[in-house]
Amino acid sequence: MENENNAGEPESTGASRRAFLKQSSVLAAFALTPPAAVHAVEKGLDEKVAVAFEQQPLRVEVNGVAQQLSVEPRVTLLDLLREQLSLTGTKKGCDHGQCGACTVHVDGQRVNSCLTLALTTEGSKVTTIEGLGSVDKLHPMQEAFIKHDGFQCGYCTPGQIMSAVACINEGHANSPDEVREYMSGNICRCGAYANIVEAIMEVKSKGGRI
């Protein structure tokens, strides 16, 4: 028999990052508008004050639409897209940059949005699967995925397609083997790889930037 602590984050005794921010926010509030803030704290509303102080402004263009947002520094681009902008086409598969389901373009480059803090996209252009094409006017890669049946359950598909477009634009789609190498960050558990490679090779064969 032995005792063991639950292995969470390395614990500094006492104040956590959050608690510290919370306290300093409240102190700042005291300095600025004492009566209102004191009242708020007394009423247990200090959480809301803290929240207001922790939000940071973010200007980012998402799928061609300029967004002026207010986000916590710890929010990932993935969760911003999904939970705040209702762009749920981008999927969460691991939250660790290991599966590629969350792949989007930031200024034309493919990135794992789960490893990208939203605030780092300040001033950038973000493109998600919703911005690539529409149900009525599909992007050539979307057409090719349908034609070659490059998916089954469809969950990894938005990430595969975003990655595939970038793969061609990067110049990494010169042979099926090169595509396999440069698409290996996008896992498909249903196992549609063979069809995905065919789809990418077909789009590539038509030439040009896509």
Partner: protein, 741 residues
Amino acid sequence: MKNEKNPPLDRVDGRMKVTGGAKYFADFAIPNMTYCVIVGSTIARGTITSVDTKKAQGAPGVLGVFTHQNMPPIPGWDGPASKQADGPPPKPDTEEKYRILSSPKILFDGQPIAMVVADTFERATYAASLVKATYSKQTTRTDLEKHKKDEITPRGGDYARGDAKAFESAPVQLESEYTIPIEVHNPMELHGIIAHWTGADQLMVYAKTQGVNSTQQAMAQAFKLDPKNIHVHTEFMGGGFGMGLRTWPQETATVAIAKKVGRPVKLVMHRSQMFTMVGHRPYTAQSIQMGADKNGKLVSIHHAATAETAKYEDFTEATVNMTKFMYDCPNVSTRYRLVRLDRSVPIWMRGPGEATGAFALESAMDEMAHKLNMDPIEFRLKNYSETDPEHNRPYSSKHLKEAYERGAEAIGWKDRKNEPGKSKEDNWLAGYGMSTGVFNAFRWEASARVVLNADGSLVVQSAVTDIGPGTGTALTMIAHNVLDIPFERIKVEYGDTSLPKAPSQGGSAIVSAVGSAVFDTCTKIKNDLFELATKAGAPLAGSKAADLSIENGNVFISNDSSKKVAITELLKANNLPSIAQTADSKGSAELEKYSMYSFSVHFVKVKVNALTGAVRVTKAVSVADSGRIVSPKTAASQMIGGVTGGIGMALTEEAIIDHRYGRFVNNNFADYHVAVHADVPAIETIFIDKPDPIINPMGAKGMGEIALIGFSAAVANAVFNATGKRIRQLPITPDKVMQEA
């Protein structure tokens, strides 16, 4: 119905899936949503001595921290189990009972010790990190190899036919042991649920389930509600592979918590939790004794398997069943045992027990063929079972010989050298391997509703969930085949409990079950149309329904197509805005006279680097004998998916436990290696595509499981052919290839 091969049809939900429009459970937005994060135990066996939730409760945005000390009760869990195995079914003969957050007892690594709810995902995640627990730890037992002596005999018992001692006098004998590690389904979509109480006794659930009706039943039982009050929606599911075949305790707990919190709750689990809370393919140790005469005729097979299960629930699967009937052998016996360990409970994973068993049996067949100096296909043909030797009845259909032939042709089997280690390509050793797969073809009960609208469009409805095989596409094809309505005018609605009941998507059984229901319902509509066309005063009055056909939007007299009437006219003339029909469909008693199986043959070519031990599959051919192929395009995808899963199973997949602690060391995608693009070559799929005359009106048998079953043995056999090294423990990693030199 036209009994012709079906054309390839683009996936009907393709546009939704490539545009991000397809909504999976976690994509639904509900006002006032809250977010749940699970804290798991860091020990595999023991007792929680304290759990400190004070900091978590005080963290911003937190609405509740639930532990065994304050978890709201789940009233129906300890009642009698429902027919569907949902929630933790009471198993009085197990040593332990697992009820989530109901006791300080820890039965497996990662067992939930707290569920934290907050108003944003980030806040819930942070608060969850503040929950601290201390434990009184006990010695863990997680290594099956060390505890085999504690085996128990599950229900079902052993099987034997013929002479148990036949092996002893067999001229050629083989005794081998095979091991399958823990494999984890790891669908791309994380598991979870959205629970939303829309009224005091009204529940809306967005689930990650392979069967909405099954989830509905489980929640009805857990919360003692009329199933009618529970609405479950899963139109799209990001892969299941078996892990969604039951309702897991944390789902039910989330529903209970949502009631307590009074707001909708969304749970999206962490990838590491996919290893401990939603089942896995159990570690299984197997042994095979095989006897043959010198001409290559099997004398005896004994197949034994011992698999892990949890302390709190006995999970069994059909690991040794294939051996009972696959080959024509007079003396066969099987033995299946479980060992209860400090592990979470396994669940069926694609090609469930059969994929485990086929690795052993089909490796052993290859080993025996080698001992006999026979070609492995020739050896299998020599022992081909024309009828089912287990049940002494005919197969409903079996075209396995043709499958062997066509696969061999496609892979270039003639280039294979029977003596191993004799082929080199580009400085790599090259080899060919093959194996057989088999899985029950089922005909379950299902229902469907079909509505023919006055504009000639058709709506097909079933509660079935499409987890990826292309169910919607297959049902579209079946409706089209009966009524000849253009594909683009057929809409399939599925994945919702408001629609007619269907079984869970599993067991490769959905095209057979739901497809038959759609076939029967469309046939009813067709008969309605024939009646309208032939009644007094109608355009084809006086004709008999039996003499009519339907094509291209018209009902016409089969031998005189000039006498016709448009379907739209028929509805209009009768003032009908639509015709709707519902039908329940199930197989007749006739089916019991037959053994119904789908068969597959897998061929692979591998190259093996003699220096590094790396194995690459360079070509794969899989042949399916699964009756009429309803939707060739999506079926081919299912086959290549099985091959891809098989490559992972054969070469890379293994969840590793540090048995000192009973905990996983590789519970993420970076360390648990599923096959990626670079691992998978071009794959050729071949369909025999001959309808089964017995199973259902389409003549279709299932194919999801056979796509995987046997594949890993084909790789192992190819590695042997390339190197002369027989690897009997999956996965075939470079260290094993080098070690056995």
